[in-house]
């Protein structure tokens, strides 16, 4: 009886729901990997020590999202003392800026959650507190999103 076939849906009553109770529960995929994975293109992180202020990222950015700001504390180091400021009201997370970056200091982190009531919160200088920088992998809890929190390495 094809009329009664939809009643197969009642089997879900006896099952555990498929839902992820999001704020309380982590999103895992079938193999148990945490989602989103580390390859997700979220907000940038920039190693201010490694960055040389070459303006390459701003030139390649097709959305005009990257502007530069001066950090006087960086005077006297290699390169210029300007560092990129990303406007996330423009950025489309294409990753061209990280590909072109000659020192590999600019990365896209899997951090994507930013909810705010003020639109000016979306323009900031991506920074990173680096303890060990030989690894490409970015340690998430070491990323900070405010230039004011920048501390010198030594």
């Amino acid at each position: 009886m094809s009329v009664l076939k939809p009643l197969k849906a009642w089997k879900h009553l006896a099952r555990k729901p498929h839902t992820i109770r999001y704020p309380a529960q982590e999103h895992l995929d079938m193999e148990g990997t945490r989602l989103p994975t580390d390859r997700l293109r979220g907000f940038h992180s920039n190693d201010l020590e490694k960055c040389i202020g070459c303006r390459m990222c701003g030139q390649i950015c097709m959305n005009d999202a990257i502007t530069y700001e001066e950090i006087p504390e960086l005077e006297g180091k290699k390169g210029k003392n300007i560092r990129p400021v990303v406007d996330y009201g423009r950025c489309c997370f294409c990753g061209l800026c990280t590909d072109i970056c000659p020192t590999n200091s600019l990365h896209l982190t899997p951090n994507f959650k930013l909810v705010s009531t003020d639109k000016h919160d979306y323009k900031f200088m991506p920074t990173q507190l680096i303890t060990k920088n030989e690894d490409y992998e970015v340690e998430l809890d070491k990323v900070i999103f405010d230039a004011k929190e920048y501390k010198e390495k030594f």
């Binding site: 729901p17 498929h18 839902t19 992820i20 109770r21 999001y22 704020p23 999103h27 989103p36 997700l40 979220g42 907000f43 959305n63 005009d64 406007d87 996330y88 009201g89 423009r90 950025c91 489309c92 997370f93 994507f112 959650k113 930013l114 909810v115 705010s116 009531t117 003020d118 639109k119 919160d121 979306y122 323009k123």
Partner: protein, 176 residues
């Protein structure tokens, strides 16, 4: 019962029962099905899609807004019954996003409608969308989500900006 207490009951009730308008303007509409359906299930918070603006509490601006859509969005927003809230998704309503030099995309939504919560990303993942809903609930609970009062207070400024975007003023300046 005093007005303040009544207000508090209203806030508590509307926080747990936010009905969103099912009106999708841009690419962010794709992020809503996982949020609405069984994977993230926003009905856990009492949220649900509603068919008409009269019944809805939350207006979602899911992505870019063209001038033509803005006209409809403003109509829809004014039909909603207050307290009403606006959530803007993604980069485009913040500062133009990918369409920053487009001839037809209004770039900063807060000049035309009062926005309560912004979500970053292009587009945000469903977790980001859920975060925005939770943030809005928190704001309502604290009594800070007052976009609709702002819209009433600065109505003339909003109307002037909307008219400028719709091209009435533009046409007048050129003399036709």
């Amino acid at each position: 019962m005093r007005y303040e207490e009544w207000n508090k009951i209203s806030r508590i009730a509307s926080r747990k029962s936010l009905w969103m308008l099912h009106f999708c303007t841009g690419c962010g509409a794709v992020e809503l099905p996982p949020v609405m359906t069984s994977r993230y299930d926003m009905e856990r918070f009492g949220m649900g899609p509603m068919a008409t603006p009269r019944q809805a509490d939350v207006l979602l601006i899911t992505g870019y807004l063209t001038v033509k859509t803005l006209k409809r969005v403003v109509n829809v927003y004014e039909q909603m019954q207050s307290p009403k809230y606006v959530i803007s998704f993604g980069s485009c309503p913040i500062n133009g996003g990918m369409y920053w030099d487009s001839y037809n995309t209004v770039k900063r939504l807060d000049r035309y409608l009062p926005v309560d919560v912004y979500v970053g990303g292009c587009m945000p993942r469903p977790e980001g969308v859920m975060n925005a809903f939770l943030e809005l609930m928190k704001l309502i609970d604290e009594g800070k989500a007052r976009g609709w009062e702002k819209y009433q207070k600065y109505y003339e400024q909003y109307k002037r900006n909307q008219k400028m975007a719709f091209g009435f003023e533009r046409g007048k300046n050129e003399g036709d």
